[in-house]
């Protein structure tokens, strides 16, 4: 069968929209700016990452996220009476989890679905200088690498019998970090040699084979984010 490249394949959202969403979500979900007044927007922002997971057909992860949200929501309601020490620790943990998980899911979604090349081009369109963009773009590549390396090191440690609750448990963290840092820095150096030998350079014009355009969903998200900030701003005027 003849292969034909489809330059229009892209994920649901444009890289720029993804970053705007991440920023908005950090402000209103993690930072809980606006508190009660932003309640509706808060819940919308919490469920957008789940919606994105479902769009990527990650049914299990999406289902798990919904279960956690709903469960912790009810748990928080149940914990609104006088709290014992244990209960307040639990409540605090739940609070932190519900604040952070949506944004973590979103960040993971962005790393998974954004092509490095798309990202470079989108940043270029926004006039972000290469000196910032190129190092940041390596993150997409580095996350999976670190996970792969760390898994291999973990296996090696288990084989030597260094694990939680066994010998040398206290040194285990150090033992894990040293080879991880060493091997990531070797990979980092080889990676930059390879990238430079293929013409990646700061401040030079580059093209992108992927057609990136704002679509319907992009505008929906952008409008939503703007409304969040405007509503928040208006609220500020009246207080």
């Amino acid at each position: 069968m003849e292969y034909k490249l489809d330059r229009n394949t892209h994920s649901l959202l444009d890289p720029r929209t993804k970053l705007l969403l991440l920023f908005t979500s950090s402000v209103f979900v993690v930072g809980s700016a606006g508190e009660q007044r932003m309640r509706v927007f808060y819940w919308i922002l919490v469920f957008i990452p789940v919606f994105l997971l479902f769009m990527e057909k990650e049914w299990k992860a999406g289902g798990a996220a919904v279960t956690i949200y709903v469960g912790s929501y009810f748990a928080q309601i149940a914990l609104q009476h006088e709290l014992t020490a244990l209960e307040s620790v639990l409540a605090l943990m739940l609070y932190i989890i519900t604040k952070i998980i949506p944004t973590v899911i979103l960040a993971r979604y962005i790393v998974r679905t954004t092509k490095v090349s798309e990202f470079l081009t989108a940043m270029h369109k926004m006039k972000v200088p290469d000196k910032i963009t190129i190092p940041v773009s390596v993150i997409f590549r580095f996350f999976p690498t670190v996970i792969e390396e760390s898994r291999a090191i973990g296996d090696a440690m288990r084989m030597k019998g260094i694990e939680m609750g066994a010998k040398k448990a206290t040194e285990a963290v150090e033992y894990r970090m040293v080879p991880l840092i060493a091997s990531c820095s070797i990979i980092g150096e080889e990676l930059s040699a390879a990238a430079m030998s293929r013409g990646l350079d700061v401040g030079k014009k580059r093209t992108c084979i992927w057609n990136i355009k704002m679509g319907f969903f992009d505008w929906v998200i952008i409008v939503l984010c703007l409304v969040c900030f405007i509503w928040w701003g208006i609220g500020g005027l009246f207080i």
């Binding site: 296996d155 090696a156 288990r158 030597k160 070797i186 030998s197 293929r198 013409g199 093209t207």
Partner: protein, 465 residues
Amino acid sequence: MICFNNVSFRYARGEESLKNINLTINKGDVVLVCGSSGCGKSTLVRCVNGLIPHFYEGELTGSITVGEMNVSQTTLRKISGYVGTVFQNPRSQFFNVDTTSELAFGCENFGLDPHEIEQRINRTVNRLDLTALMDRSIFKLSGGEKQKIACASIAVEPVDVIILDEPSANLDFKGICELQKMIEAWKEDGKTILIAEHRISYLFPFINRALLMKNGEIKKEYSVEEIKALTEKELHELGLRAESMENPSETRIKGIMDMSDTDKMVLFNMKYAYRGESAVFDIPKMEIPVGEIIGIVGTNGIGKSTFLRCLCGMERRCKAKLKVRDEEWNNRKRRQKIYMVMQDVNHQLFTDSVLEEVLISQDSEDREEALDILKLLDLTEYADRHPLALSGGQKQRVAVASAIASGREIILFDEPTSGLDYYHMLQVSELLKALKEKGKTVIIVTHDVELIKNACTCVIHFGNK
């Protein structure tokens, strides 16, 4: 085309690694640069792609011209439009996460028109039959597939010179056959190709000349006929690998042992499948002779490495049992009784000195014994050095020292000789024999025919039914 005029180079920290190189390579030549590890062949090719002096710093004298460009006065970006490189390590040469973008990466950097890049990609993919590898995550590819993508992404670029730096290091027999096809296609297109390698026989159909390097100098130049005529012994004396293109699955070792008398351990119910996929292997019963060096061979992707991981009890979802001397070992027990030396030894060196590394591998620390083990492996003088600061071969010896120190009776090796030249391969093979002397059962997964012939006393073939 490529011209070295009295070139010497010394890395910023380290000794001189190129001495007085004079060399001219014509357009369309396919040149092999061979020699044992550390002979300077990688340094030589780095001078052509501009990584020396632009990336690896050091002291460069003499002049190198590639095409019309003087390498030290031209930017890397400009050179990269003319010279493409396939590196040794498939793990660290991709900037993108998906394969299709990786193919486009070079051309995008040169600022080529996207339509033209699209056509170039379509042409390359169809010509090299890579459809199945497109739109995949780099992290889900096997080593051989990664190397194919690395080659293809250079093939997409409009370069005239192609450099391959030990491209076969991580490839099995089938992978090498694919690599040959790639080189053949480039040769047809009239590209100038420079290959640094110590496995050489697979290149004989393509090369015009071969340069032998030693201690940073070009020791000798051979024509194809001359290098083909070298005997196995002569090649080994030069530190080169002598294996002919041979499929490890068809390798026969000398002397057929009568296995009926040897003690055996029996492996039951060895079965493993990745989540949601069909079984990688399903072995109801398998006998493994005790106290031998057993080589496991089979094509890439057949599950040899997974087999080792299951055997040493690292895969929780594998429910195999190993019966040794009337004792049944489950996963947990096997993790305590079997030691595995991994392919990338960097992953299993944790501490800050070689001695410490051996000490933590022992069940209870015993300094005397640890020092004895270091002596056995010629590591005494490095006892206080940081393991990660040693050379590759020394690191591997430290890993073996830990394996001995663990006192376990079964020791597994995953591809212990990938990328090693003849001397180092022999060294590994001696280590394996030393383990056998100590009464250990050694099981190796490998596609290195020479290692099998040198060390293994027994071979197990993995294949589909």
